[in-house]
């Protein structure tokens, strides 16, 4: 299994509070991704990173920010959580750019509930 961990694995928070999810990898892969998974929507890309301090927006980036200060860590922040952000969040990594055909390896997911 690819060395990807996500923390926390479960979180319940209240509307309006800030939340940070962490993705940590031990594979030294360049590319990292954050997705959200919702019933009937499959996986949707939130943000991705192509190197330290290099990030870009995905399909559903509104309300989310990311940071990558080290190769191994990619943080996803919800500045002010809303109920619509209740979801399962997956981190993924790839050695080469996934749009070029490279396999993505997924973490175990974080289940976030915003009440």
């Amino acid at each position: 299994d690819a060395g990807i961990t996500q923390s926390p694995r479960h979180k319940v928070t209240e509307t309006g509070t800030p939340v940070t999810l962490r993705c940590h990898q031990t594979e030294n892969h360049r590319y990292m991704y954050w997705y959200r998974q919702d019933p009937g929507h499959g996986l949707r890309l939130i943000h991705y990173s192509y190197g330290v301090k290099d990030t870009d927006k995905g399909e559903v980036s509104d309300g989310y920010s990311v940071s990558r200060s080290k190769t191994e860590d990619f943080l996803l922040t919800l500045e002010s959580a809303t109920s619509s952000q209740t979801s399962v969040y997956f981190c993924a990594i790839s050695e080469e750019w996934s749009g070029g055909g490279s396999e993505q390896y997924f973490g175990p997911g974080t289940r976030l509930t915003v009440t």
Partner: protein, 114 residues
């Protein structure tokens, strides 16, 4: 931009029966195609992929998919399913460009019963 359609949200099947999970994509350029599988309470893992060459690709656990350019399809098949194949299957596509991200379909839940 590319898109993926998985026509069935759920496919129930009996053990040892054949199964086909359908995937169609839309793109104006050449594409790479993938099938990922998600077992309950786990992340996704790659099942198989088509990059180029032979249009028929196989996985190590008996699944196969065929790239059909004229029908813009990449259907997943298995001649005989096991209970352990119960999972959600996602088709994904990316375009042959340096900046294309991976776009996933909405998933098909394969339910195998005895």
């Amino acid at each position: 931009a590319q898109s993926v359609t998985q026509l069935d949200s759920q496919v129930p099947v009996f053990e040892e029966a054949p199964v086909e999970l359908r995937c169609n994509y839309s793109s104006s350029v050449s594409v790479y195609l993938f099938w990922y599988v998600q077992y309950p309470n786990q992340g996704l893992q790659l099942l198989l992929k088509y990059l180029s060459g032979s249009t028929l690709v196989e996985s190590i656990n008996g699944f196969e998919a065929e790239f059909n350019k004229s029908q813009t399809s990449f259907h997943l098949r298995k001649p005989s399913v096991h209970i352990s194949d119960t999972a959600e299957y996602f088709c994904a596509v990316s375009e042959w460009s340096g900046y294309s991200t991976l776009t996933f379909g909405k998933g098909t839940m394969l339910l195998v019963s005895p």
